[in-house]
Symmetry: C2
DNA sequence: CTCATATGTAACTGCAACGGTTTCATATGA
DNA sequence: TCATATGAAACCGTTGCAGTTACATATGAG
């Protein structure tokens, strides 16, 4: 949802520099409730990715050029810190050496996978997404 | 949990060839209920990774040498087919071209990430895990 | 100043997923 | 024949998330 919203903002910034979108407009495209959108936008604001104006003619706009916002930034902004995969809630039996060894091994694997994923996400920017949107919509401007 | 159980079985097979473990024994190490373990073992059996004997002296054992069971096999065995990441349940607004473009772009990214993850999991076998367990427990046999 | 309009936030609801538990059926070796 | 193990269905409680309502706050236009 965060990427969706930011993609819309990137397009909007391209067509109408200085323009903003309301949470209702974004919610219509995402098919959800404006408040849900605002909750996500609040995270993005805390991360410094967007700027938000209140009141009439208010709304949200990108705080930086799309080329300087990576998908990894977005991930971090909405990340709650929970691991991507987790063992079962109870955790391994601390009195069973095998359980502890397995848990440690899988933890290392998981960390590696998360790192690899985040690294690949760092290579994709909102500018790439905006370009893909324009191409898909057939507005290539070329 | 599946990896945990199979790791225990790999160790058991090493120490007592032909030996089996009961779902209760595994459950104690995993800190869960035997029935929960059996649910997972049922998936592994359907995938042909383990063999299960009923009745007294019954239990479960690996169906193949640990070196021929990869973490990817295990993933596939317990996978429910749901994508690792998903957009919000409602899906994009089909009447909004931008929404459709974003959804398509993210879908392609997700598929790539899942493929990359599964590929890396294919390089790790239960033999690797068993070795790590032995090392961590200080029983290097060397 | 006043008001319409937009966001900020808390609180509650409803739904789905998951683990835990019970219960009973089934297989099987001693 | 019986003790012991798995197989499977059914149910419960918890958790997480989206959706929704309600109200507070900010702000530009008149």
């Amino acid at each position: 949802m965060a990427v969706h919203a930011l993609g819309m903002l990137a397009c909007e910034g391209e067509r109408h520099p200085g323009g903003v979108l309301s949470s209702s407009t974004i919610a219509r495209s995402v098919r959800t409730h404006p408040v849900v959108v605002r909750r996500v936008l609040a995270d993005l604001r805390r991360a410094g990715l967007v700027e938000i104006r209140r009141g009439p003619k208010g709304g949200v706009a990108l705080a930086r050029p799309p080329s300087r916002i990576t998908l990894r930034c977005i991930w971090e902004a909405v990340d709650d810190g929970e691991p991507l995969f987790a063992g079962h809630p109870a955790g391994p039996n601390p009195r069973c050496p095998t359980a502890l060894a397995v848990a440690g091994y899988l933890d290392a694997l998981r960390s590696g996978a998360e790192r690899q994923l985040k690294d690949s996400l760092r290579k994709v920017t909102l500018a790439d997404l905006r370009r893909a949107i324009s191409t898909t919509r057939g507005e290539t401007h070329a």
